[in-house]
């Protein structure tokens, strides 16, 4: 597959390492009362859709950026690629 890296342009997906659903960015608050349940669902449950899927790829033999790729799991068509850092910030993550 080809991932169109936002900085480096199209690169063979074999340069990347796949982690999983981009929901891994939304790590729960460790201090909420429902932390145990939140962390269980965060760590173990997945939508695993047959269709558009936001997922995390690491540019292992490239620039060591994490990317959030939006890909159709039926056709493998990729419709969007962003730096994970930007997505994380957009989802309110900071320090």
């Amino acid at each position: 597959m080809i991932i169109n890296h936002p900085l480096l342009g199209p690169r063979d997906a074999s340069e990347f390492t796949y982690l999983g659903d981009a929901s891994l960015i939304d790590r729960p608050d460790w201090q909420s009362e429902t932390a145990a349940q939140d962390f269980y669902e965060y760590q173990y449950l997945r939508d695993n859709p047959a269709g558009l899927h936001q997922e995390l790829w690491f540019h292992e033999s490239g620039d060591r950026s994490w990317l959030v790729v939006t890909r159709n799991t039926l056709t493998h068509e990729i419709t969007d690629v962003q730096l994970a850092r930007d997505v994380a910030r957009a989802r309110g993550r900071s320090k």
Binding site: M1, I2, P10, D12, A13, T17, L19, L24, I25, R27, W30, Q31, A35, A36, F39, Y40, Y42, Q43, L56, F58, E60, R64, S65, W66, T75, H76, E77, I78, L83, A84, R85, V87, A88, R89, R93, S94, K95
Partner: protein
């Protein structure tokens, strides 16, 4: 034997003669011949035996779709089973043997199966061989396996080498027939970067096999002229002998170039074949079409072939399939074989045409509305029986019969991403569907444009749409005039008359009768038909048989052909050598080797090396007189604990963590705290996965307020770095922290033992005080050594001894190791390897990969209290789950044999002293074991249920796999220096 079937013309070089042997007999051919054409030229029609019934078979086609003429090419280690004679370029001294026979090709004992074929119908083996049960492995299966299989491997190592490469282009054109050449001209002249690939060693496709003209030149000459123009364009790369094997995602294509299959042996260092990964923006598939046979009784005799193949042999290879030929066709294209061969003086017995309105000809007899109902000639066709339109019967004398059931567009590549072809009634064939892989257009016969003019025109259109899609403008390509006749097909799948042994899949011996049986027994989906009868599962993957099979199933099931549909087209387009898919990653180059800075020195010492991931590490350093590894390892351990030893520890992962929030970042990834670690101090860190299980451990040395050097285990270095980048970029994007790996930037050696300080004081420059007071346990700092070379020093100990780790830039690692050995001579310094390191860390009770095995928690490892509850860190919440904190949870313990002479092997399980020995009563297992020369007996680490309060308990260590059962005692994991006095000396 002279080449009695040679006729005039053809694209072969008769000025040169090539000698070759087939089944031990010497023949001759010419450059430009294939093995198949050369055999036919010499009157050899019998070339193989079918898979199941071992019926005699001749060549059916002239290309890579060949099901029958499979040979074992070459000999010795280079033997290639199942090689299609139609794709082997003849070279001098070529050696080939027929295969899949018991006895000779003429007298194959296994042909007995053909006599019993009524008992051996499709799927018979599912209904028998069940009694008596044990007989399957002992009797039935061995017989079946011995009889099955086709060609055989030499089982010697493949002596050839293979390359892999990567190509980029704007437009990839697959197939260099009329459509492909026209497309390449259009794209090439526009300046786009173009790759034109064709599986044949001569570009031109059908143009080299037909006799019609293009403009005022012959088709073949036009092709040659076009190839010459393309070769002159720097932006066009011509790749003949190159099969595009598959269409993968996003315009990536796999292609195999046969660099040296047309010579006896490649030159030294030259690859036999190259696997190219081609990144294309657009692709135009011009893969042509494959002609279909017709089903009729005994339509598989040697000499019966596709009409188009008969024309190829006549026009391209100047070979008449036989002195006297007949044709059986349901379309106009079939007639061309008769016309071409007649023009070359070959006797045409007759053209049998199923259509009542078939075109007549005054050069040879055309029997309209007629069908071939049977043939004669076991080892080679002699006669064909014909049912005429009026019902009467005729017998034609012929040594070759050309069949033309129409053409199947080659939709293979268009369906590699699960798209399905669609049925076209006028062509009576499947054509590419709309749901094509990204960036792909289809042109020429592959798209159903069968005429030459039609193919060339659609080639230009295909290239234009590809250029348009990448924003390039195409100059108009003026095409010369070419034939444009329709083939006027009327679908005709099989002759209904006859006992029903009409062959569809000639290699797997699937007949029309088998399709009927499959329908009768409920295997009606086209996928069930394929799997139950093995139709289309042979080495040609049904290229000439699938269509007939599914058409007949549609008829039986009362469905339309599109309703039955096709099975799935899968890469590779044609079978591909496993060697080329492995490329250069063979033998010692399977994975790269990572060498430590002291590797060369260690080799000079005669060290024994061991693989640790991709690293090679010294395992022990045998000295003269030592014959068993235990002698070397015990010596290394004792010498280190008694005086001083040195070990290369560069392979441990080292990561530079800098920035204002470096400490805060370490607090997130380690379960224990780092915020308050003083500069110049080091701390052990345990890293959890988010599920609360231990992931890795190591040390973090605070070199400055905003600079830590973090170590990881050798095995997890890559994974830990990736995890840290995930935490940095995805979880805490605003933290001011920067990471970079420095594993290979610093050569690092452990210097351990009571004399380690004295030794290092001879190396560390005097202005740095490394006494215990100035440089206590867990200290770290920047120093210089040997007169000013920058270095780093850490007071960390894996062996449990007084120890330092000293690091210099990698270029000086070799020199530092030699200096340490020189300066340490007075202390009898010894190098110690990973084995001795393992013994010492077990004696000390330090966990490694065997203990941090991905299922153990901080609590299991006896470090439960380290998981800080005062701060957030990866894994701390889920580490609190009830299942991980039961009161009988596994705990790390030391294990000692009650009888000191007994071993306590790793991998053994632990049982209570009394009671049953089974999984339900399993109390734990042994993770690491060794002989401790210090204690004089074997010791081990392991996990035991509720191990924390079972110290002193006697238990049974059992290893039924290695027949070991011994009594052991649970002890503290810290066998040596439990209080850690040596560390703080």
């Amino acid at each position: 034997m002279t080449q009695q079937n040679r006729i005039s013309g053809g694209q072969i070089d008769t000025s040169q003669t090539l000698k070759f042997t087939f089944d031990g007999k010497q023949y001759t051919g010419h450059p430009g011949d294939t093995l198949a054409s050369a055999l036919l030229a010499n009157g050899v029609r019998l070339m193989g035996r079918s898979f199941k019934y071992h019926r005699p078979r001749g060549v059916l086609s002239a290309g890579s779709e060949e099901p029958n003429a499979l040979v074992e090419l070459r000999g010795g280690a280079r033997q290639e089973p199942n090689t299609r004679a139609t794709t082997v370029e003849l070279y001098n001294g070529l050696l080939a043997n027929s295969q899949n026979r018991l006895g000779s090709l003429k007298f194959d004992l296994l042909a007995i199966n053909d006599r019993l074929s009524n008992f051996l119908t499709a799927g018979f083996y599912y209904k028998t061989f069940m009694w008596p049960a044990a007989f399957w492995e002992k009797l039935y299966e061995p017989i079946i396996r011995k009889a099955a299989g086709l060609g055989s491997l030499s089982l010697k190592e493949d002596p050839d080498v293979y390359d892999k490469g990567f190509l980029h282009c704007d437009v990839l054109i697959i197939g260099a027939g009329p459509a492909g050449l026209a497309a390449a001209l259009t794209a090439g002249r526009s300046g786009a970067s173009v790759i034109l690939a064709d599986e044949d060693f001569r570009m031109g496709g059908r143009l080299n096999s037909e006799t019609f003209t293009i403009g005022d030149a012959s088709g073949a000459d036009w092709a040659a002229a076009t190839v010459a123009e393309l070769a002159s364009l720097p932006n066009v790369r011509l790749m003949s002998r190159t099969t595009v094997i598959g269409a993968f995602d996003h315009g990536i294509y796999g292609a195999v170039e046969r660099n040296n299959d047309h010579v006896a042996t490649p030159d030294e260092g030259k690859p036999r074949q190259t696997l190219w990964r081609i990144y294309s923006k657009q692709a135009v598939v011009c893969a042509g079409a494959l002609e279909r046979p017709i089903g009729f009784e005994n339509n598989d005799r040697p000499g019966i072939m596709l009409a188009s193949a008969m024309r190829s042999y006549a026009n391209r290879w100047a070979v008449a399939a036989d002195k006297r030929v007949a044709i059986f066709t349901n379309n106009d294209d079939g007639h061309r074989a008769a016309a071409d061969l007649h023009a070359k003086g070959v006797k045409i017995s007759a053209v049998v045409d199923t259509r009542a309105d078939a075109p007549r000809n005054n050069d040879y007899e055309v029997l309209v509305g007629a069908q071939v109902i049977d043939t004669k000639g076991r080892l080679g066709l002699t006669f064909a029986d014909v049912r005429l339109a009026d019902g009467s019967e005729r017998t034609l004398e012929c040594g070759a019969l050309g069949m033309s059931g129409g053409w199947n567009p080659n939709v293979h590549m268009t369906c590699h991403q699960r798209g399905r072809p669609v049925w076209n009634d006028d062509l009576a064939a499947f054509v590419p569907g709309a749901d094509l892989p990204a960036g792909m257009t289809v042109a020429g016969a592959a798209n159903g444009d069968f005429s030459t003019a039609g193919a060339m025109a659609s080639g230009v259109i295909g290239a234009k749409s590809a250029l348009k899609a990448i924003g390039l403008k195409a100059k108009t390509t003026k095409l010369p005039q070419a034939e444009d006749a329709p083939i006027n097909i009327s679908a005709f799948w099989y002759v209904k008359e006859g006992k029903g042994r009409a062959w569809l899949d000639q290699q797997n011996d699937v007949t029309v009768k088998d399709v009927k049986l499959s329908h009768q027994e409920g295997f009606r989906s086209v996928e069930h038909l394929k799997r139950y009868t093995t139709l289309g599962m042979a080495t040609d993957q049904g290229k000439t048989s699938n269509m007939g099979g599914l058409a007949i199933m549609a008829e039986l099931a009362g469905k339309t052909i599109p309703e039955v549909g096709t099975t799935i087209f899968r890469p590779p387009y044609t079978p591909t050598a496993i060697g080329v898919l492995a490329g250069r990653a063979r033998g010692q180059e399977f994975h790269p080797k990572r060498l430590t800075p002291s590797h060369h020195w260690a080799k000079e010492q005669g060290a024994v090396f061991v693989e640790v991931g991709n690293w090679l590490r010294a395992q022990w350093f045998p000295q003269k007189g030592e014959t068993h590894w235990r002698q070397s390892v015990d010596r290394e351990v004792i010498a280190t604990r008694k005086s001083v030893g040195v070990c290369d520890v560069t392979t441990l992962g080292k990561i530079d963590v800098q920035g204002a929030d470096a400490a805060e970042f370490l607090n997130k990834i380690y379960c224990n705290g780092f915020a308050k670690l003083a500069v110049g101090k080091t701390r052990y860190g345990l890293m959890l996965r988010e599920d609360g299980i231990a992931m890795d451990d190591g040390t973090a040395a605070r070199m400055a307020e905003d600079h830590f050097v973090v170590t990881t285990t050798t095995a997890n270095a890559l994974g830990v770095y990736r995890h840290m980048e995930f935490v940095r970029q995805c979880l805490f994007p605003d933290m001011d922290v920067q990471l970079i790996s420095t594993t290979e930037a610093w050569a690092q050696f452990a210097v351990a033992g009571p004399n380690s300080r004295r030794l290092l004081q001879k190396i560390v420059d005097p202005e740095y005080d490394i006494s215990n007071e100035a440089f206590p346990f867990m200290a770290c700092g920047n120093i210089t050594i040997c007169g000013g070379l920058r270095a780093r020093l850490f007071r960390i100990s894996f062996s449990g001894e007084l120890a330092y780790e000293i690091a210099v830039p990698t270029r000086y690692g070799d020199a530092l190791m030699r200096r340490i050995m020189e300066e340490g001579a007075e202390f009898d310094v010894v190098p110690y390897g990973t084995e001795a390191l393992g013994v010492m860390r077990i004696e000390k009770g330090h966990a490694t990969g065997n203990e941090l095995n991905g299922t153990t928690t901080a609590l299991n490892l006896g470090m439960g209290r380290m998981v800080s509850k005062k701060k957030d860190s990866i894994g701390s919440i889920l580490s609190e789950r009830e299942g991980l904190n039961t009161d009988d949870v596994l705990m790390q313990v030391g294990i000692k044999p009650v009888d000191p002479s007994k071993p306590v092997p790793a991998g053994a399980h632990l049982m209570n002293l009394t009671g049953p020995v089974d999984a339900d009563h399993d109390q734990g297992y042994v993770t690491s074991a060794c002989y401790s020369p210090i204690l004089g007996h074997h010791i081990a680490l392991g996990f035991v249920k509720g191990g924390g309060n079972r110290k002193g308990e006697k238990m049974r260590l059992v290893s039924p796999l290695t027949k070991v059962e011994t009594e052991i005692e649970i002890v503290s994991a810290h066998f040596v220096d439990p209080e850690g006095e040596r560390l703080r000396a």
